[in-house]
């Protein structure tokens, strides 16, 4: 078990460091290789990749100013600024220690929160699941940095893609165009690898990647007393904030790092230092994204609800190994749940031990020019996607989704809601149709069940808040336009 946790952590760290390939692509590529393992070992290794990638992403962000993965974007700003001031080692150390503290705290909270949440969720029926999934989509849209309408459009697109394949209730073939492989629907792995991996490569010509590798000296590795003092409270705040946000469906680890940066800048006595090497600008976001990675496992394990594309693929891994995630997981497969939790405690220690001494090695790997790096990434994407079903159709889907991902990036659409929509489409459709059958076609069933009613009311409140914010921004935009017209 420890060996698989170590392999997962090591691979996750390397994956997190490579720009253009994130934890999702790493997990997707390695998923078929776990077919020969039992469920516990498989999920331990794959989860190690997930939270290991959070560690790895910070290395390239700090040293190269290239976010290894999306959640490390905020670390780029102040982390690289610290590196340019000769404090690269301190930045790496703070990021590693902050991630360790946040990850450990997240595991403790997971241990406490997940079992009672599972018990509560046993009372959920189809109406509650429908309301919960709708809330998840709307909350993702509300928290997204992209506009509400854009996010919901992407989510609807994902729901539409999720309907491709055989309808499990009636047996109808839907939109398969006489391609037998499409009878099983469009897989998450080809879509995710295409959108996030290939799409990023298509929009990043090698000439745009100008990286200067900063090699830290050994004596600069440790932060001084002032830096430790400045990182304490940001680590604590980032850990709690990240875990809470991580429970909510959506790109929690990305959103949590943005929110943590904003929070630290807000509460800091010296906000002018942010962007110029503020320690809190590294400690907070790195802790938040690691804690969010752990928090994301709570709904996945306790409710069987994926909080994002990565947890969706982890869920797929559990299903492949015959372990359905959800409220019954803790009781029916305690060895999987507690083995997974135990591996996370150990995994956090392994990651700390990996990241600090191996910084020099990792930096050398990153010296591979991007022009040689991305062909390798494309090759691994093709291998990984093909391995899932030994189907060339999946690879074509990956390529098509890569083009879609490129277009979405150009048009400033966030692809994450699309993947989330794709993942929850079967769940949402099944629970919606079951609810309507139960109620003999009466939509009021969603209002007559207390939990479903509360979830729907929360969704409406979030929609109302978004609408208020939208009209307030429009009013401000028009007022500024009137001022400019008046001046001219």
């Amino acid at each position: 078990m420890l060996w698989y946790a170590f392999v997962g952590c090591l691979v996750g760290t390397l994956v997190g460091m490579l720009p253009g390939i994130g934890p999702l692509a790493g997990i997707s590529i390695l998923l078929p290789l776990t077919y020969g393992l039992d469920a516990t070992k498989a999920i331990v290794m794959l989860a190690g990749i997930y939270y290991g990638s959070q560690y790895g992403g910070s290395t390239t962000s700090i040293l190269l100013r290239i976010p290894g993965e999306a959640a490390s974007v905020m670390t780029c700003i102040d982390g690289n600024a610290m590196a340019k001031k000769g404090r690269a080692g301190a930045a790496l150390c703070i990021a590693a220690v902050g991630s360790f503290v946040a990850g450990t705290l997240g595991v403790l909270l997971l241990t406490v929160v997940a079992p009672p949440l599972a018990q509560f969720a046993l009372g959920f029926g189809p109406p509650e699941y429908t309301a919960l999934l709708v809330l998840g989509l709307i909350f993702l849209a509300y928290m997204s940095t992209s506009s509400l309408v854009r996010t919901l459009l992407m989510a609807a697109f994902g729901l539409l893609l999720g309907t491709i394949g055989i309808d499990v209730m009636s047996g109808h073939f839907r939109y398969s165009f006489n391609i037998a492989e499409l009878g099983d629907g469009i897989g998450i792995v080809p879509v995710a690898v295409g959108l996030f991996g290939l799409g990023e490569i298509l929009s990043t010509p090698s000439l745009q990647v100008t990286s200067e590798v900063t090699r830290p000296k050994l004596r600069e590795l440790w932060p001084n007393r002032t830096e430790w003092r400045e990182s304490g409270w940001p680590i604590a705040r980032g850990s709690l904030l990240g875990f809470v946000i991580g429970i909510i469906p959506g790109s929690a680890h990305i959103i949590s790092s943005f929110m943590s940066y904003a929070l630290e800048k807000k509460v800091s006595r010296h906000p002018e230092q942010f962007g110029k090497g503020a320690v809190a600008g590294v400690a907070g976001p790195e802790s938040a994204n690691n804690a969010a990675s752990t928090g994301a496992f709570v709904p996945m394990l306790a409710l069987g609800i994926p909080t994002g594309p990565v947890t969706a693929v982890l869920m797929a891994a559990l299903l492949i190994h015959g372990v359905p995630p959800g409220p019954t997981l803790v009781n029916d497969h305690p060895e999987v749940f507690w083995g997974f939790v135990a591996s996370m405690y150990v995994g956090n220690l392994m990651l700390l031990a990996l990241n600090l001494p191996l910084v020099g090695v990792f930096v050398n790997l990153l010296r591979i020019p991007y022009a040689y790096l991305y062909p390798m990434i494309i090759m691994f994407c093709v291998i990984g996607v093909y391995e899932v079903n030994n189907s060339i159709v999946d690879v074509w889907i990956m390529l098509i989704m890569g083009i879609v991902g490129y277009g979405l990036k150009k048009l400033s659409f966030d692809p994450a809601p699309l993947v989330l929509g794709l993942v929850i489409a079967p769940l949402l459709e099944m629970s919606l149709r079951q609810s309507l059958i139960m109620s003999d076609g009466a939509w009021l069933i969603f209002l007559q069940r207390p939990v479903a009613l509360v979830l729907i009311l929360v969704s409406l409140v979030l929609l109302a808040l978004s609408a208020v914010g939208y009209f307030a921004r429009r009013k401000g935009w028009r007022a500024r336009l009137v001022e400019v017209d008046g001046e001219t």
Binding site: L153, M169, P205, K410
Partner: protein
């Protein structure tokens, strides 16, 4: 989607059919797309940058050719040609360096996935 969903039964509220969810999703997409067209957008005001379209197009074409030839030629030949073509045509690297790198990388991947991890890889025209 509505046009090609003709044969799928929508069903009734009491017995939803296979066509209900796709049509709901398509309708939502149209609704949100209409809202985007009507509402002012900061992206439209800033303008789009398509300077990398040539790079993207070349990568897509080369990758598509590699995928099309993956089964007929096999893993080793198709992936070697993929990496070589990307380095020479897209990145304009030295031909010999590109050839050496593509062969070495593909052999390493073959060893890692085919031998170490026992993943089935397409043989194609080769006997191994």
């Amino acid at each position: 989607m509505f046009a090609i969903s003709g044969e799928l039964p929508f069903g009734t509220l009491a017995a939803p059919g296979a066509g209900m969810m796709p049509k709901l999703a398509a309708a939502l997409m149209m609704l949100f797309a209409a809202a985007l067209i009507v509402a002012p957008s900061a992206v439209r005001a800033v303008g789009l940058d398509w300077k990398d379209r040539n790079h993207a197009a070349l990568v897509v074409v080369i990758t598509a050719l590699a995928v099309a030839s993956y089964r007929p030629l096999g893993f080793l030949l198709a992936m070697s040609l993929l990496v070589f073509a990307l380095l020479v045509i897209v990145e304009r690297r030295n031909v010999l360096v590109a050839a050496a790198y593509s062969v070495a990388l593909t052999v390493f991947a073959y060893w890692l996935f085919g031998k170490a991890l026992k993943s089935p890889l397409e043989r194609g025209v080769l006997w191994f």
